[in-house]
Subunit: 210 residues, 2 copies
């Protein structure tokens, strides 16, 4: 008997995954070298699957880094779908744009440099909102973005378990508190039906009823 | 730092869940008392969310037990949706029917007693297939049911990590081998895009492309 997220389980899951495209491999290598965080292959595949199920016309990402998760969204979108990438770093956004161009997905991306919460306010009727900015900003992010969601929207937030710190009673730093408040908001709000998936660092999913 | 599926994490997740309806509570109590397995609250909520995203007209369950997972599907279905329950036990199916009736969902259920794989063959254009029969039967289940899936169907299989035994090299009993073969089939088949979620005992999700 092995606990489910034992490293042997993770390695079983990773070995199951068929070879994939070179852009993913290049981005994973870049993450490894640079230390910039990405959601990784297992969460990436989960994002792809959720996107296929929801079939969104508009995906907005708050915090895109250099475009790893956005690339998974782009692959899953139909031709009429679009993903808006946001990041503070011009260099990150330029890299993402290049990956989209090289993979033939440039028509599916909108590339924005600046403050994710400022840029997010410009959009409405969002079918899928992905949140991956600084963790203390999560409560503000959902307050700002909630009125901008389409009916039956899907909210996906990365790091919803924050290294398990959310469950540690003594831990009260600003990031952990941000995630805790965000999770509580999502589970107590009547408009949302939420679930936290213990994949990697925790992925919160919320379906919006109206 | 706590490993993500540490018992403290599970308890954090369980405490987050708002009070729910009395039928669920009654079924959970029945499972506790009888020892009959159910997917439990966390997987149940995940099923609900996936069903809302996919909006299936037809859900077929292979192995319904006394109807716990079927009840989650029924709650998530639109009025035009239907879930087909299958179980060997007349008593289990009668119990499920009663829960559906009491909760006002009887129009959303079709209650079948007998061999799940025999009954499953009677259906076509299945939008969501849920597999939870004897584990050695999983490879046969997908071979039989695969041609009966609708385009963009979602396959959900419970126990896809089978207490972690799938990742134990020495373990080769019939049930473990069944799950292993099933997982390999789902990940290597071009028509499916699969992901295993390490929630409870592992939940395999597969999106069918065509």
């Amino acid at each position: 008997m092995i606990p489910i997220t034992d490293s042997r389980i993770e390695s079983y899951l990773m070995h199951m995954i068929p070879e994939d495209d070179p852009h993913l491999a290049a981005m994973e290598e870049k993450a490894e070298e640079s230390g910039l965080p990405i959601v990784g292959r297992l969460v990436g595949r989960f994002l792809y699957l959720l996107t296929r199920l929801r079939q969104p016309a508009l995906v907005v990402e708050l915090g895109s880094g250099f475009g790893y998760s956005a690339y998974w969204f782009a692959r899953a979108l139909s031709v009429r779908g679009k993903v808006v990438l946001t990041d503070y770093s011009e260099k990150n956004v330029a890299y993402a744009r290049q990956v989209f161009t090289e993979s033939g997905f440039s028509g599916r991306g909108e590339f924005r440099v600046g403050d994710a919460l400022q840029i997010g306010r410009e959009y409405n009727d969002i079918d899928l909102l992905f949140i991956d900015i600084d963790k203390y900003q999560y409560p503000e992010a959902i307050r700002v973005m909630w009125p901008r969601l389409a009916p039956n929207a899907l909210v996906i937030a990365d790091n919803a378990l924050w290294h398990g710190k959310v469950a540690e009673e003594g831990t009260q730093d600003r990031e952990t508190e941000g995630i805790r408040q965000f999770n509580e908001f999502m589970f107590s709000h009547d408009d949302f039906f939420s679930s936290i998936i213990p994949l990697r660092d925790g992925v919160l999913l919320a379906y919006k009823f109206n």
